[in-house]
Amino acid sequence: MKVEITTEKITAGFLLRLKGDVDMNSSSDVRTAMAEIFKQGQSGMKALLIDLSQVRYMDSSGIATLVEGMQNCMKTGARLRLCELSPPVRDVFELARLASVFEIFPTITDASSGL
């Protein structure tokens, strides 16, 4: 079970869409995709949006990858915004008590505004 990753250039920066299972086997692919974005984005990037609606499973390695992404965003002054958390993702966030740490939006449109 691999995760499918698509990267899209948007006005505010980048939109990363994840589909499938983000676990120890696949989170390195997410990390690689984010590294590519930070390289392309450089200092001009206002935000990195991550669409989590199609994520069927996420474990601690997936969360670790998102935390790293947030730390990298902070360094460059960009925002990391998570959108449309699927029920399993909401579940791990709840269990990790990390919901307040991330900026979470119900839709991509919501996450794109006010940047």
Binding site: D23, Y57, D91, L95
Partner: protein, 142 residues
């Protein structure tokens, strides 16, 4: 099989290679067993997560990233109770390090053992039986 109270008590055993790609197979096999034991879907998702974290830790720490080993899971299904025994033949853990981290610190890492402790009622690492470790995880339905 039935125990002395006439209730079901079935054991399913799974032996898998230590490559992370088989974590998905473990999750796929465990989920219906948790449902069979009578847990809700939300509970089942969390139990699957915690077992997955325990398997990931075997790969990362007991086998130090060696993907060519194997480990096993004995899953005991009873009505309202699930027990999982994970056996590896790798490096024994430093038990003082496995206490789950405090969650107020935002950093990647330390979450796996937190999930395991938060989900299961009993978490017991037995390093006394020859090579490797036996981790026993038990969850009762409330």
């Amino acid at each position: 099989m039935t125990d002395d109270k006439g209730q079901i008590k079935d054991v399913v055993t799974l032996i898998v290679p230590s490559h992370p790609k088989y974590l998905y197979v473990v999750r796929s096999a465990i989920y219906p067993l948790v449902i069979e034991a009578g847990f809700t879907k939300k509970d089942a998702r969390r139990i699957v997560l915690a077992v997955d974290e325990a398997c990931s830790n075997i790969i990362k720490y007991a086998y130090e990233g060696d993907y060519t080993r194997t480990y096993s899971l004995d899953i005991t299904v009873e009505t309202g109770r699930l027990a999982v025994e994970l056996k590896d033949s790798g490096k024994k853990p430093d038990l003082s390090k496995i206490s789950p981290r405090k969650l107020d610190e935002v950093r990647p890492g330390g979450l796996g053992t937190h999930f395991i402790a938060a989900v299961f009622d009993r978490v017991e690492y037995d390093t006394s039986r020859g090579a490797g470790t036996v981790l026993t995880l038990v969850k009762e339905k409330r």
